[in-house]
């Protein structure tokens, strides 16, 4: 399954109310490292097909959620479960680290 586009509008239903773990990649088009993170997140989405929700949130178009969660560097990757943040990564993060964190929440 491909990654989901998360917005300020659908954040509640797609992330907070999800019944699976959710990975959110906070990014913006002007950020060089975010361009490296994007394909990694897409690989994570493919690998976690059906077991977790993997989404990307453009902070330029959706500033409210980023502000609410105190995001001040991008890329920032947050893992949510049951509506709360359980893990946060700052800066480009490897596929292995992200998969490891999501798998911990599933098993």
């Amino acid at each position: 399954m491909a990654d989901v586009t998360i917005t300020d509008q659908n954040f509640d239903t797609e992330v907070l109310k999800a019944d699976k773990p959710v990975l959110v990649d906070f990014w913006a088009p002007w950020c060089g490292p975010c361009q490296m993170q994007g394909p990694i997140v897409e690989e994570v989405a493919a690998a976690m097909d059906g077991k977790a929700v993997v989404g990307k949130m453009n902070v330029d178009e959706n500033p409210n959620t980023a502000q609410k969660y105190g995001v001040m560097s991008i890329p920032t990757l947050m893992v949510f479960k049951g509506g709360t943040v359980v893990k946060q990564f700052i800066g480009v993060t490897s596929k292995e680290a992200l998969l490891g964190e999501l798998n911990k929440l599933i098993n």
């Binding site: 001040m72 946060q88 700052i90 800066g91 490897s94």
Partner: protein, 340 residues
Amino acid sequence: MTKKIMYDVIILGSGPAGLTAAIYTQRFGLSTVVVAGRTWGGQLQLTTDVENFPGFGKIMGPELMRKMRDHVEGLGVKVLDVAAESLETSKTPFVVTTEDLTLEGKTVIVATGADTKWLGVPNEGKLRGRGVSSCAPCDAFFFKGKAVAVVGGGDSAMEETQVIAKVASDVVLIHRRDAFKAQKAMVDKVMALPNVRVLYNTQVADVVGDTALTGILLRTENISPKQGFDSFDQLVNAFGGKKIDDHQWELPRQGVFVAIGLVPNTQIFKGLDVDSHGYVKRVEERDENGVLKYFTKTNIPGVFTAGDVHDARYKQAITAAGFGCMAALDVQRWLTETGS
């Protein structure tokens, strides 16, 4: 599952040094692979406008790297977006391992570059991504109208200051010395900005904040004559700070951008000689007439180096590319000479 593949040259790193080396070795007909690292493209990915790379006038750093990578891949070189985990040099062929792959190479070019050096103060880890950053172009967006600081005195500190000054309300550039080592053209640009002030002879003792940065703990030993203040109290007051003792004070800030230098990426290499700062040592070789034969050799025959991982002096995109070219030429000569 491991697959073994043998190459004439394995290039570790995908900044200007590694990618330039790849263009040359591939065109020499040498089988080439680039192990790009966890984050490909190197330091230029963390910049905005590059205005000193010949032929491009003004180009965004990430775009320049995209063009270099397209060039390399267009020649048929495989660029692997994986990190090298180890380099085994005790026997030949050399062996590079990544998570899934084992690569064998007759030669290796170490062009792994250098990464941000952090301040190393107690609360920095907690506040990274919470006001402490190393990439103004990435994070400026979060500091619109806010009071921020930049720490450093070199070219990258000047660039960070220019970028953040466009959006922040005011910027304090904190430098531990009395003079900058950045290029004059860059310093002049920064000094002309109306919302930038400089603190000389000042060190960062810690960053302050609970869930987000609120201030920076500073230590000013000798007030620079350039500041135009007679006393420590005057200086502290002028910056809206809070005095703690005769030398320490807290400057209220919501963001701080760290640009104090770089750490070369040599941690995974065993047996490769590095200097006291971790930079790879080059071993120049001359022939019997004193003519330079190899410039980019390391202490391990068959392992060469290029770019910021060995260069603490020039550190430019164009010099890294130049070193990459030299390493490729050295590899070709070495393979010919050794009959490999």
